[in-house]
């Protein structure tokens, strides 16, 4: 099937029952990561037509004809990614690309979120290293 990822069309071999997570990883988008596999942790979050979805719960087939966004598509000077780097808002970094995408989506909808809004919007992304305090700081800094 043909997918449009980060603005480029790619041809992938996938069956109709395969999830976007597995298909994107096979296609080399290794910033999309599996942790729970059941839509709880958010580590496989990607953007589909601008909305964050769990790659492990979204059929690849359902994303055909839509714009898929992963961290690989972030601009070199992406301000949200920059804010995460400046705030040291990560430890192992496994959850970070999905955190950045989720924060970008939040800031599109709510350009100046307060702490409660950040916590709610990011609640579907888990960080086992517990970098939450600095992630909130990063999102606030990106909003400024």
């Amino acid at each position: 099937m043909r997918l449009r990822v980060n603005g480029a069309d790619i041809e992938v071999e996938a069956t109709n029952d395969e999830m976007l997570l597995a298909v994107l990883r096979r296609a080399g988008f290794s910033s999309v990561r599996e942790t729970c596999g059941i839509g709880v942790c958010g580590a496989c979050s990607v953007l589909v037509d601008g909305e964050t979805v769990s790659g492990c719960l979204t059929l690849a087939r359902a994303a055909v004809g839509r714009e898929i966004g992963t961290a690989e598509g972030l601009a070199a000077d992406d301000p949200v990614a920059r804010a995460f780097a400046d705030a040291h808002a990560f430890q192992c970094g496994f959850c970070t690309p999905a955190m950045v995408l989720t924060a970008k989506r939040l800031l599109e909808e709510t350009p100046s979120p307060d702490e409660d809004e950040i916590r709610v919007a990011m609640s579907g992304n888990l960080c086992r290293c517990g970098s939450y305090v600095k992630i909130v700081e990063a999102v606030r800094a990106a909003a400024r």
């Binding site: 290794s30 910033s31 990561r33 599996e34 942790t35 729970c36 596999g37 059941i38 709880v40 942790c41 580590a43 992963t70 961290a71 690989e72 972030l74 070199a76 992406d78 990614a81 920059r82 995460f84 780097a85 040291h88 990560f90 430890q91 192992c92 970094g93 496994f94 959850c95 970070t96 690309p97 950045v100 950040i118 916590r119 709610v120 990011m122 609640s123 992304n125 888990l126 960080c127 086992r128 290293c129 517990g130 970098s131 939450y132 305090v133 600095k134 992630i135 909130v136």
Partner: protein, 690 residues
């Protein structure tokens, strides 16, 4: 920009070799069963099955006791024990091929409770206990023959407390329990193995590259130099990625298939691979009327599951941290590491010391109640001071327990009233004895390359060690490179555990700069397992926590409104990293305190996923989560990777205790809080009726 933020960093699960096959593992559904036969004749062509008979010739292994084989051979010892494995061109085909393997099991009786399992004449999980030859068997082990106790550690300081308690004005005797927990690092275990003639190469997420090299060499009868371990950064580890995990299966399959093989666990399998020791800790403390501590008696039962792994060491640390940083005239400890038919338990951030800190610090508050003394005052009166001796006989230096505790108390405004507030203080050992080496190679272009076995797992070791090297070399850190550890290229190091790396590598770097680029650091010490005398820790990790809670007594639901940890850092090397480690430890401690529990039904884990097994999320972080990194001019660097975890559950437990709500079991669920509220109310009604 940092490769972590852009997602370009490559973890072991991202390693991709030409011609590589993907493997899945077939696991026993029974907690204890005889394997009467394994029939893999229906496995489709193009798949390679690894069966017990394929690995019978390989040596057994184990970090501290040689009780593991590449696959279960004749008996499966827990629900989840690997019995076979399949490699196939895709993960999906490997998964499907598992269903084509038919195993004939005969179910056997099993044992799941560590106290019961420690008794004579129950199910014996292992018939014998051969001490491991690996570098992780660094102390004398004391398996109790004919029982499931694979190590018994004891402290015998002073007289038998049972005699002394009669002379104490206040005595507390209480038994506490802690649940099993999952590391739940975001990146699962992932290993890739490749054979190049008779040379084995493994890319794997491991905290113990040299232990792994030695073990694989023994298993496959190779020279150590013919095993190469490469360590990409890990997406979290927290102790789970220590010693041999998937590497032996990957290597055996790769040898049989004649192609590289990759194994990545799914989330449910993580719960069947390594967890934190559930423990039962009985604490009996005695004091004089003026609050002077006299006697301390502790019994620990650490449930190590079906294979010992490093459980003996965990039990020993649980035991020797048990008496806490206090002056005891008499202290006796018995800590048993006990086999059960549960998945193996091993290293977990804090290494047994959360369990005994939880028990002792709650008991200290109960003792304060008995004595009618303020718990802060009681602790300060008895905390160890500079130059005093611990119950192991070692002299304590660079001592800051009181400073940590007072900082924690200030953060919750202890002096303004203590209802709803709790404190806890701890000491935590650093791996002793141990060895570290580092090589600093100067390049032609003015750069330096660090050859060091310390692995990166999110703790910021690469940054901290690079900063230290740059400082000693007098160059900017941008000129320092620190490639992924590769045992072909880096010198020996004991392992990346117990918050030791920043400290030992700082010392090794200093030595390297003095000695032509090759530096060494060796820490002597160790304990006599029968008396607990010797040197438990080269220096001690010191810390305290304070918590404030608000309880809904109708439902038992409570909120941690404020959490503070004060940790002795000595000297901070990498401030953002140090802050993250402290915050992360506190948040992980919060999960342990409030909801993390592996639920077992008939030996099978009932919640092996991140929906039913909850880990802390944004919403769980207290509004006021603060911490101190205490530094002193000229002090040694003290590791910070885990010190803030163990005191958190105890501080929260004591905050509940300040309201008369005495919970003894972790996690502190709303149900258990409600039960404790009812018990308190019943007691006060009873007192009223009299």
């Amino acid at each position: 920009m940092h490769s972590i933020v852009t997602g370009r960093v490559q973890y072991s699960q991202d390693v991709d070799l030409p011609g590589m096959l993907h493997a899945r593992i077939l696991r026993s559904p029974y907690a204890h069963a005889r394997i009467r036969g394994v029939d893999a004749s229906a496995v489709p062509e193009g798949c390679v099955a690894l069966l017990p008979d394929d690995v019978r010739g390989y040596a057994s292994y184990g970090a501290q006791i040689q009780d593991e084989t590449v696959l279960a051979l004749d008996r499966a010892l827990y629900a989840g024990d690997p019995v076979a494995a399949v490699a196939a061109p895709t993960r999906r085909e490997a998964t499907e091929a598992l269903y084509a393997i038919d195993v004939d099991y005969e179910e056997l009786p099993a044992v799941f409770d560590p106290v019961e399992a420690a008794q004579p004449s129950v199910v014996l999980v292992h018939e014998t206990a051969a001490i491991s030859e690996s570098d992780a068997a660094y102390f004398d082990l004391r398996p109790q023959s004919g029982t499931n106790v694979c190590h018994r550690f004891r402290i015998r300081h002073g007289d038998d407390p049972d005699v002394v308690f009669d002379d104490c004005e206040a005595v507390v005797d209480r038994t506490f329990r802690t649940a099993g927990a999952q590391h739940a690092m975001m990146e699962p275990h992932a290993s890739v193995a490749r054979w190049d003639n008779e040379r084995l190469e493994v890319w794997t997420g491991t905290q113990t590259p040299f232990n792994l090299r030695g073990e694989l060499a023994r298993i496959f009868d190779l020279r150590e130099e013919d095993v190469r371990i490469v360590c990409p950064p890990m997406g979290g580890a927290f102790g789970a990625k220590t010693f041999v995990r998937l590497e032996a299966i990957a290597a055996a399959l790769a040898r049989k298939a004649g192609r590289p093989v990759k194994v990545v666990l799914d989330r449910a399998e993580e719960f069947q691979t390594l967890n934190r020791h559930p423990a039962v800790v009985r604490v009996k403390l005695g004091a004089r009327a003026d609050g002077t501590f006299v006697a301390c008696r502790i019994w620990c039962w650490a449930d190590t599951g079906a294979y010992a792994d490093c459980g003996p060491g965990v039990a020993q640390k649980m035991g020797f941290a048990g008496p806490g940083p206090y002056r005891w005239e008499h202290a006796w400890v018995d800590a048993d590491c006990v086999y059960t038919n549960l998945p193996p338990n091993g290293a977990f951030r804090g290494y047994g010391q959360m369990q005994s800190t939880w028990a002792r610090e709650l008991a200290v508050d109960l003792l304060a109640d008995e004595l009618g003394l303020d718990p802060l005052e009681l602790r300060l009166r008895n905390l160890l001071r500079e130059g005093e001796r611990y119950v192991t006989g070692e002299e304590m230096h660079d001592v800051h327990y009181a400073e940590c505790l007072e900082a924690a108390a200030r953060a919750v405004r202890w002096d303004e009233g203590r209802r709803g507030k709790g404190l806890a203080v701890l000491l935590k050992g650093m791996q002793t004895p141990s060895k570290a080496e580092i090589v600093l190679e100067e390049g032609d272009d003015g750069t330096y390359t660090i050859r060091c076995a310390t692995v990166e797992m999110g703790q910021g070791a690469r940054r901290a060690i690079s900063l230290l090297a740059a400082e000693e070399l007098g160059v900017d850190v941008s000129r320092v490179r620190f490639p992924d550890p590769d045992t072909d290229l880096v010198p020996y190091d004991t392992r990346t555990t117990s918050s030791r790396s920043t400290y030992v590598m700082a010392e090794a770097i200093r030595d390297a700069v003095r000695n032509g680029g090759h530096g060494r650091m060796e820490i002597p010490g160790g304990l006599d397992p029968d008396t607990g005398q010797g040197v438990a820790s080269h220096h001690w990790h010191q810390g305290a926590a304070a918590a404030e809670v608000r309880v809904d007594e109708e439902t038992g639901v409570f909120e941690v409104t404020r959490l503070h940890a004060a940790i002795y850092a000595g000297r901070v090397v990498n401030r953002p990293g140090a802050e993250l480690q402290n915050e992360g430890s506190m948040i992980m401690g919060l999960g342990t305190a409030l909801f993390e529990s592996i639920d077992v039904v008939d030996g099978q884990i009932a919640n092996p996923n991140l929906s039913d097994y909850e880990i802390p999320a944004f919403a769980d972080v207290p509004r006021e989560l603060t911490h101190d990194l205490i530094e002193h001019e000229g002090s040694e660097i003290h590791g910070l990777g885990e010190t803030a975890l163990p005191p958190v559950p105890a501080a929260i437990g004591n905050a509940l205790g300040s309201l008369g709500v005495h919970v003894t079991e972790l996690p502190m669920t709303p149900e258990s809080v409600l039960e404790a509220v009812d018990a308190r109310d019943k007691l006060s009604q009873g007192a009223g009726a009299r």
